[in-house]
């Protein structure tokens, strides 16, 4: 840092590679020369003019201006900070602060003037609800913090701030409720966040990889949501949340498989209806994973085990097919996956057209031409649709479906059963952050079963889930 304003301004502008949007401004206030440097593309011009420029220009006393006078008398800003090192100045500048230098002073005054392009909170496309709050997180962390603060009007809400990424210096916030969240878990996560040394973080999913434990890569280890009401509910259960600047996805942990079986809608609907829907979702998981594999194993190896009427129907529709059932199933699966991928990436109006071409023309013509059979198309279609009963688990279930098709096609029903036992055992072996992955089913936790496959009324759930190891267990005082 230099004593002269001119030197400071030139030095820091050159430090930022003389980028065109780095602006400097000099003016004389009283007897003192003042210099300002800021990035204009991220600057809130209105606040800058009203709170900084106007008061400075209107100051008419003919005396020497000090930082104290600036802070107390001139600037109409409540958040001011003094920095004394070069690194701090550069960090603050890149974080879109306004830096103010005074002639003869070897330090600077900084204030937040950021006005990044921000999206208004809207209903997230990944988790829409029929009833319940429709707000969703946005990319701006300040707005996201505000959305969460709106729900917790308590001093127990703790927010720990981290800065991750050598180049991006992304702001990462760890949220917890004091007295409810497990302190050891907070320490463990904080340590992990502090130890991340990466060039940049552009989304919360970058953080996710650093928080994962062990090698259970197939299974999701950390919860992710775009809705503040879900984050609030999970924090009330004793979980912690991680917010990353620039990402609308908030991570929650510890995570158990059951969480993806629960939807935010469940908590705003009739418990009996919710129980029914959760059973349907569980069925959806089973159908997604094993239905094509089971169908294939019956067609290839155990056709005699099929009831006669079904056997005749299947035999009639599969007569004269050029491919083996296994090849046929793989072919249809690949076709559907390509269609899915295309419809996801193309512009919406083109996506609809592609779906029509794919599903109606390719599927229908394929069956009519005798290349593929209609039962196989139905089975794959059912499996593809069923995956969206639990959309958060879609990537995992898609991989499992392929594995089960392979097992059913090569080893028959015994292969499918073997796969089921193997994967359930693998899931049972997972203990991310000391939390059993399939709890409260295995190990069975009776009190947690009130909000598992069945859903009890909120008045009956007096305790927080035991799986989160919270010390404050009572949720509802009766």
């Amino acid at each position: 840092m230099f004593f002269h304003v001119e030197e400071n301004l030139n030095y820091y502008k050159s430090k930022l590679n003389n980028s065109f949007d780095v602006c400097t401004r000099k003016l004389k206030v009283g007897q003192t020369e003042i210099g300002m440097i800021f990035i204009k593309s991220m600057m809130d011009k209105e606040i800058f003019v009203n709170s900084v420029m106007s008061p400075l220009q209107d100051y008419d006393k003919k005396e020497k201006v000090t930082f104290k006078i600036l802070e107390n008398e001139i600037l109409k800003i409540f958040e001011l900070e003094r920095v004394e090192t070069e690194d701090d100045v550069i960090t603050k500048l890149t974080q879109n602060n306004l830096i103010i230098f005074l002639e003869g002073e070897k330090c600077a005054l900084v204030t937040d003037m950021e006005k990044a392009p921000v999206r208004t909170p809207a209903e997230p496309p990944t988790s829409s609800v029929i009833r319940g709050p429709r707000e969703g997180f946005v990319e701006d962390i300040k707005s996201n913090i505000a959305l969460l603060r709106l729900r917790f009007k308590t001093e127990k809400l703790c927010i720990k701030n981290f800065e991750v990424g050598r180049y991006t210096k992304t702001k990462v916030c760890l949220f917890s409720l004091k007295g409810i969240a497990d302190e050891n878990l907070i320490k463990k996560i904080s340590k992990k966040l502090e130890s991340i040394d990466i060039d940049g973080i552009v989304d919360s999913h970058y953080i996710l990889s650093f928080l994962q434990e062990g090698r259970g890569l197939l299974f999701k280890q950390i919860g992710a949501t775009e809705k503040p009401d879900i984050v609030a509910a999970k924090m009330l259960e004793g979980r912690i949340a991680i917010m990353v600047d620039g990402s609308p996805i908030v991570l929650t942990l510890p995570f158990v498989f059951l969480e993806d079986l629960q939807a935010s809608n469940d908590y705003y609907s009739n418990p009996l209806y919710v129980t029914f829907m959760r059973i349907i979702r569980a069925l959806g998981i089973v159908l997604t994973c094993i239905l094509p594999g089971v169908f294939l194993s019956f067609r290839l190896y155990h056709y005699k085990a099929l009831p006669l009427k079904y056997l005749i129907t299947v035999a009639n529709s599969t007569q004269g097919l050029p491919f083996s059932p296994f090849i046929e199933m793989v072919f249809i699966l690949i076709l559907f996956q390509i269609l899915y991928e295309v419809s996801l990436r193309l512009p919406r109006y083109l996506g609809i057209a592609t779906s029509i071409v794919g599903a109606l023309i390719l599927g229908d013509t394929g069956v009519k031409a005798g290349l593929i059979s209609s039962p196989a198309v139905i089975i794959i279609a059912m499996s593809m649709i069923a995956v969206y009963t639990v959309p958060d688990q879609a990537p995992q279930l898609t991989v499992l479906r392929v594995i089960f098709i392979f097992l059913g096609g090569t080893l028959g029903l015994l292969g499918v059963v073997a796969g089921m036992i193997y994967f359930i055992n693998e899931m049972n072996a997972l203990n991310f952050y000391d939390t059993p992955y399939l709890a409260p089913f295995s190990p069975k936790i009776n009190s947690d079963l009130k909000d598992a496959l069945t859903k009890a009324s909120i008045t009956d759930m007096c305790e927080r889930p035991k799986v989160t190891k919270t010390k404050n267990k009572v949720r509802l005082s009766k």
Binding site: L414, A418, I424, N431, P443, K444
Partner: protein, 367 residues
């Protein structure tokens, strides 16, 4: 990874192990030798099995944190304990081979026509190795997860079997000599030693108030459903019971029409498939446990090598001489069974009663 299992999980393990070995060939084998008296022999041997489990639970209550190896070596010395553990190892190895052979035959008859043993082993061995390699904790949790489905499937089989009985008949007991009864019991003793696995996991069960009662509740439930199962089986097939080696599937053979759903033997098949993988996993785990005590290895790589070697040995033994092994087992397995399932538990009863010094065993044992 934490290895402790809860009393409920231990109870479920006992339930599944007890159930799995007795629902296929045993009813017909017993009937072949002693007719309807099979029910009495079954009841007798099953009661003995349950009684011995009770003894093992008492042993656990007395020596809370000690492994069975530590308990035995305290009283019999390390060398004799290692010899006993070698017998355990042989037993578990035979039990795995027995399981593979019996279930291969069953599944080939039931659903896999022209199935080859290589393919069966290709599915079976890697899975049971993986199950046991992941440890007791995940094995117990998996049992807990599938338990309700297995019980539901089994009860469905019972209900469907009972619905096909046209006429209940009172069993006529033939005049049998005590020697015949004892001989039959002795011959089939190998089927009634499932709880030996409990000794291998005895130090890994969490002790809470009433843990023994919890375990026994599952065992009594299994006891009752097995008795009902045998009763229904003998009622369905009466004098031809000896011809039906796949009891669980055959019991519902006459109930293949419930509205439009045919082929209900699939339920039985699924029950058996789930159980065999599970039983295989537990037996393989115990095989590893017994071997680890004989060789006293500690490191994970050695553990892994053992699994691979164990797998290859079982595979080769089975692949090259399956018929011979089965015959050998039928002739000599009963002696091993007598030693492990009868003499050892009786010794333990004496041990529990005569060892009055219990103060030091309730402390946490560091390993």
């Amino acid at each position: 990874m934490r290895q402790d299992i809860t009393a409920r999980q231990a109870g479920i393990l006992c339930f599944l192990m007890m159930l799995s070995s007795k629902i296929l060939a045993l009813p017909s084998l017993l009937y072949k030798d002693v007719g309807y008296f099979a029910m009495i022999i079954f009841l007798m041997l099953l009661s003995m099995e349950v009684l011995f489990l009770f003894v093992f639970i008492k042993l656990k209550e007395k020596y809370i944190n000690l492994s069975f190896f530590d308990i035995l070596s305290k009283f019999l010395g390390k060398i004799i304990t290692k010899i006993i553990y070698f017998l355990f190892f042989v037993y578990f190895l035979i039990a795995v081979v027995h399981l593979i052979y019996d279930n291969f035959i069953y599944l080939r008859e039931a659903i896999f026509e022209n199935a080859k043993i290589e393919k069966f082993l290709l599915i079976f061995l890697p899975i049971i190795c993986a199950l046991s390699y992941k440890g007791l904790n995940s094995l117990a949790r998996t049992a807990e997860f599938f338990y309700i489905f297995i019980v539901f499937g089994f009860i469905c089989c019972l209900v469907l079997g009972a619905s096909s009985i046209s006429q209940f008949t009172l069993p006529i007991f033939e005049n049998l000599s005590i020697t015949t009864i004892l001989n039959t019991s002795f011959k089939n003793i190998f089927w009634f030693g499932d709880f030996i696995f409990f000794l291998m996991i005895i130090d890994k069960i969490k002790v809470k108030n009433g843990f023994g009662k919890t375990i026994m509740n599952y065992v009594w439930l299994c006891f009752v459903v097995l008795l009902i199962f045998y009763f229904i089986f003998y009622q369905v097939y009466k004098n031809t019971s000896f011809m039906h080696n796949n009891a669980i599937t055959d019991i519902i053979a006459f109930t293949n029409q419930v509205e439009n759903i045919e082929k209900l033997n699939l339920i039985a098949l699924l029950v058996v498939m789930f159980i065999i993988f599970y039983q295989g996993g537990v037996l393989f785990y115990c095989l590893n446990e017994s071997f680890s005590k004989i060789c006293t290895y500690t490191n994970k790589i050695q553990n892994y090598i053992l699994f691979v070697l164990g797998t290859i040995i079982v595979f080769l033994l089975f692949f090259y001489s399956s018929q011979k092994i089965h015959l050998y087992l039928a002739n000599y397995g009963k002696y091993l069974g007598l030693l492990i399932f009868l003499i050892l538990p009786i010794y333990l009863i004496f041990q529990i009663n005569f060892d009055k010094n219990k103060k030091i065993y309730n402390k946490k044992v560091k390993k």
